[in-house]
């Protein structure tokens, strides 16, 4: 097995509310291995972004409570690091791409200047070396002519181009892990495919790991090596992406894959998952998915499910060990 770049152990993230902490992330165990593209999938509000931002500790520390550990490659716990140490890691070792490219760049600074700043801040490259590197990066992400774009302000570029620029910026310092928080959500479908191709290409070249957060199984099928499915702040299933796609085990994953529109289903209604995720401000007894699950029985409502592991590393959180989702696919 490949080494882990980040290993999340028992992570709980609580957000302050008037009635106490709301645990949006509850007891997550997740490893990101070297050189893989890991997809973190789930519906809105299931805690995907909370988990991802915790890796860089981007939450407002006055309103957030962390429990558990996030072990970085060097064996240190990110949640216990000093601010100075963290600044060394942010950007140079772990970088992050955000959802809306229109707002991630400083609106008053030329694109070139923003990229140069990164080099000036983190490395000792000379002005010319840094500029040459920036131009090369812009070219490699397909923002051309690089010389012209270098002198542009963010508002002069389209969303797709901006997302490319921010990818270029995040890759500038050769990070070992790139966290992409719904990188294609704000873009149209053709742009999505291009950005995903770009990510895949750059990942092959640099050998970095990518943690991609998405609510779109299509994205997973396209580029991910492994997938982790999240529901109500927990990871309910992990495994190789093709394995999960064709042999889902957890009922939520089964339903999620079942509700993807497929070609050749003329005149049929789209399958949906009834109900809503549970409230996160009180403890959940039993399986959080039980209320919406079509396989659930009484035991599911009272007893928390155990983690099942198959021999190929496929794990899932369900008391029903014999479920196979073949019929959903």
């Amino acid at each position: 097995m490949r080494e882990n770049i980040i290993s999340i152990k028992g992570l709980k993230v609580g957000v302050a509310s008037t009635s106490g902490y709301v645990y949006a992330v509850r007891n997550i165990n997740l490893d990101v291995r070297k050189g893989e593209i890991l997809g973190l999938v789930g519906e809105s509000g299931c805690g995907k972004s909370m988990t991802a931002k915790s890796i860089l500790r981007l939450h407002d520390e006055k309103r957030t409570e962390y429990q558990g550990k996030i072990i970085y490659e060097n064996g240190k716990d990110i949640l216990n690091m000093k601010e100075k140490e963290l600044e060394q890691i942010r950007g140079s070792h772990i970088a992050m791409i955000f959802q809306d490219p229109m707002t991630t760049l400083n609106p008053l600074m030329k694109i070139g200047k923003q990229m140069m700043e990164m080099f000036r801040y983190h490395t000792s490259l000379s002005q010319e070396e840094a500029k040459a590197k920036c131009l090369k990066l812009l070219e490699s992400v397909g923002v051309t002519p690089a010389e012209d774009r270098f002198e542009n302000y963010p508002f002069q570029l389209s969303g797709g181009q901006l997302q490319r620029v921010s990818i270029a910026m995040e890759l500038a310092l050769d990070p070992e892990l790139l966290i992409a928080d719904e990188p294609t959500t704000a873009l149209d479908v053709t742009m999505q495919a291009q950005i995903l191709d770009l990510l895949r290409k750059l990942q092959k070249e640099s050998g970095a790991s990518i943690l991609i957060i998405t609510h779109n199984f299509g994205v997973v099928a396209e580029i991910c090596d492994r997938v982790a499915v999240m529901y109500a702040g927990q990871i309910v299933e992990t495994g190789e992406s093709m394995d999960i796609f064709y042999h889902p085990r957890h009922p939520y994953t089964i339903d999620l894959i079942g509700s993807i529109p497929k070609a050749g289903l003329n005149g049929q209604k789209l399958t949906t998952i009834p109900g809503a995720p549970p409230q996160l401000n009180r403890p959940i007894t039993g399986c959080p998915y039980a209320a919406r699950c079509r396989y659930a029985d009484e035991m599911c409502f009272t007893k928390a499910p155990d983690l099942q592991t198959l021999e190929n590393g496929h794990t899932y959180l369900c008391s029903k060990a014999d479920l196979t989702g073949e019929e959903a696919v």
């Binding site: 981007l58 600044e87 942010r90 950007g91 955000f98 707002t103 760049l105 400083n106 801040y121």
Partner: protein, 296 residues
Amino acid sequence: MGASKKKSYGRFFTVPVVISLSILIFLLLCIIFAPFITKTDPNALDLLNVLKGPSKEHLLGTDKTGRDIFTRILYGGRTSLLSALGVVMISVVIGIPTGLISGYYGGKVDMILMRICDVVVSFPALLLAFIFVAAFGRGLGNAVLALGIVYVPMLAKLTRSLMLVEKNKTYVEAAYSIGYSDRKIIFHEIFPNCLPTILVELTLDLGYAILDLASMSFLGLGVQPPTSDWGYMLEENRAFLTTSPLMAISPGIVIIVFVVCLNVFVDGVEMYSDPSRRRMPSMKKLKKRMELIEHA
């Protein structure tokens, strides 16, 4: 085509900017080179020629002690502008960092800094000036210091509210994720985005400072006679508005011209500082350029 020159985006020198800037420069040059423009001593008394109207020797007439108004306006610009600038500088140096830090960190820091500001705000400006004068003696310097401190809370609170808006934007989070330190994020990423609004506030402050200093001088706290000063001239000559109006009106007009031009100029700077609002060449010019490209 001559594209080798690095072209900046948009135009800074729009018509209003050019006009206001040239008037400002003209005024400043007049003030700086006052001794070459007029040979008269601004403080020379001439009790035989009191309250005279405009004449060849006295372009704008004389005041109640026979001093030349024109000369006094030229020299008064030095005191007025320098002291008003001093007031604004003091408020900038203290107020902006206070506002930025208070808005960025929030919590206890914010609480303490803002309560201090509230105390200063609730203290009458003149009373503060009196205290300063009592403690450090009379003089323009102390009046400037006192007024500067009075201006701090306004600027700090404005900066703080701008910071509160900016700090939740994604580019700040992105800057965080790149690994920038707090100091870099506050002063290099967020501050430039607050600057346009702050600049406008500062130019308004400069106008207010001239007049506030004048009222302090009127009470004997600021400019000490016989030094001339625009605001003070306005105050002391007001009594003669019916008999020789030029005495009070002329420094008034100079103040108006200066403040208006400064505002127009800063509006131009503000517009330029946001690249998406910069003035582009006129449609006519652009059309011509397009035609040139098509023909080539």
